[in-house]
Symmetry: C2
Subunit: 342 residues, 2 copies
Amino acid sequence: MSHATESEKQPVILTGDRTTGPLHLGHYIGSLRSRVQLQHEAQQFLLLADAQAMTDNVGRHQKVTENVIEVALDYLAVGIDPAKSTIFIQSQVPELAELSQYLLNLVTVARLERNPTIKAEIVLRGFERDIPAGFLTYPVSQAADITAFKATRVPVGDDQLPMIEQTNELVRRFNNTVDKQVLVECEAVLSHVARLPGVDGKAKMSKSLGNAITLGASPDEITKAVNNMYTDPNHLRVNDPGQVEGNVVFAFLDAFEPDVPMVDELKAHYRRGGLGDSVVKRTLNERLQSMLAPIRERRREFATDRAEVLNVLRRGTMRAREVAGATVSEVKGALGLNYFQN
Amino acid sequence: MSHATESEKQPVILTGDRTTGPLHLGHYIGSLRSRVQLQHEAQQFLLLADAQAMTDNVGRHQKVTENVIEVALDYLAVGIDPAKSTIFIQSQVPELAELSQYLLNLVTVARLERNPTIKAEIVLRGFERDIPAGFLTYPVSQAADITAFKATRVPVGDDQLPMIEQTNELVRRFNNTVDKQVLVECEAVLSHVARLPGVDGKAKMSKSLGNAITLGASPDEITKAVNNMYTDPNHLRVNDPGQVEGNVVFAFLDAFEPDVPMVDELKAHYRRGGLGDSVVKRTLNERLQSMLAPIRERRREFATDRAEVLNVLRRGTMRAREVAGATVSEVKGALGLNYFQN
C-alpha cells in the first residue's frame, strides 16, 4: 500500500514516437537518453504512435506498421526497460480513439486551424486546402493520449508547445463541462539539448531527408556518414583557420563527447588553423563507434527474438489499456454514459 | 448453415435516432412504422445515437443520456422486437470511435465543409465559425456507424442524401487504399411519406419547437394538441368554404387515417363549406386516441421494468459490438494493424 502511494506521487510521463522509420542519433540525444534516466524517477508511458502516423501516411500504412517493431527495438537497445517503462502500441488501445471522440466536441474547427504547430506542418507537408480531417484533429488525439494516462509531464520540443496548450485547454473545458476534476493538466518539459543537425548540415536530422545516422547503423555506415559530414566549406587547407559554428562535426562532438576540455581544445586549434577535418572526424568517428557498438549489439540480439519483442509490446499495451480504460470510464461516467454500471 | 446463408442475403439496415427527447408522431410516420415491418425482412440495427447527440449538446449531456431509455421505450412500445432488431447504444460500442478514427484520414476538411447537410445544420444551430470539431466530423462517425455493420440500406430523408454520398466516398477510398473490398457501399432508402407538420403548422414536427405529439402523450394531451391545431385561418364560419392544403388536421388524417374514402369525403365537404373544424378535429382525435392508446399502454408497461429495458439494450449492444468488432478487425488487418494476431 505504501509503495502504491509512493508511486502515485511520482510524475507521470507520456511520450513516444511516430513509427515512420527507425530512430537515429537525433532521437537519441533529444529524447531517448533522458527517457532511460527518467524511467527510474517517473511512471513513464512510451507510445508507438502508429495511428497518428497514419493521419498523413494514407497509402503508406505498410511503412507505418513495419516500423513499430523497429522503434521498439531502438527503445530496448538504448536501455529502456519494459519492467520500468510501459511501451505500448497506440492503435491497440481503442480507449484513446474513444476519448478523442469526446474531446473533439470541446474544440472548434477555427481553434484547430489556429494551432501554430498544425499550421507549420500543413505547409511542411504541402496539404494547403487538402488537409485530411484526421490530420487537423490530431492535436485532439494527442490530448487524448496525454490525458488518458493522466500524464503530468510531457517532454516536447519548443515547436510542440502549442500542442500542450491545446491539451490543457481541453482538460479545463472538459472538467468545467462536467463540473468535476476528471482530467489532469500537464506540464511541458522542454529539452535543454540543442537540436542535432543532419550530417549534411541541414537544421534537422531526419530519416526522410537521408541525413541521419540510425541507432542500428553498421560501423561502415557510421564511418561513411562522418567522412561525408558538412564542415567549414572555406577551410580548404589544414593551416587555414576554420569555423566551428555550423560545423556538423563539432556539433556532434558537443552532443556526444563527454570529455569537454578535449573538445574545447580541438575547437581552439581548429579556429587558429593547423587542424585538419580528417583528424576531427577521426575523433568523432571513434566516439560514435564506441557509443553505438553496444546499442547495435543489443538491437541485433533483440531482433533475433521478435516474438519476445511482441510479448513486451503486448504486456505494455495491456497495461496501457487498463490505465486508459479507467480514465475513459471516469470520463464517460462524468458524462452519464455509464448505463450498464448501475 | 442454410439459415445463416439465408440471413446473409438479407439486406442489412442501419438506422436510429439521436437521443435528445422522446419520439413523436413525426418519427412514427417517418420511420418507426416502417422499421416494425422491415424487421421481418432485413437484419436491422437500431442505433441510440447518444455520442452523436453529444456533438452539439456540450453541457447538456444529461438530456442526452436520460433520453436513451426514453427512445428505447418508444421503440419497444411501437412494436420493435429486440429478438428481431438489434437495439444498441452508440457510446457503448467503442469500435465505432475506432473506425471513425481511420476514416477521418480519408476525407479532407474542405470536403467536410462542403457537405450540404452540415452546411445547413451549421446555420440552423448558429455555429458559424464556432463549429465544434466533433460536429464537423460527425458525417465521418455516421459513415463509421453504417460501415461497421456493413449496412446495405440506410433509410433517410432527402436532406440526408449527402451523408450517404459521403459514406460511400469513404468506402471507396478505404477499399482503394488497402486494395481490398473490406467496407461495403450502402444505398439510401428514401421515405415516400410526406413529412408530418407540427401541430402549429410549422414545416417540421419537433420536440424542441413544442409542436409535437409524443408517442407517450396522455389522452388529454392528445385532445388539447388536436384542438389547438392550425387549420385554415380564413375558415371563420362553418358555412364558408375551407382550405385543405396547409391544414394540419387534414395532413394528420392523410397520415394516420387508413379509411381514405372517408377522408376524401371530409375534404370535399370542407372545401365546399358546411363542415366545421370541430367535426374534423373530433374525427382525427378519435383516430389518434385509438392508435396511441395501445402504444402508450405498452410504453407504460415497459417503463415499470427499466432493468429489463436495460437488459434489452445490454444484449443488443453486445451483439452490435460483435458485428462492429469483426469489421474493425478486418479494417485494422487490412491496414496491417494486427501485430498481436500472428
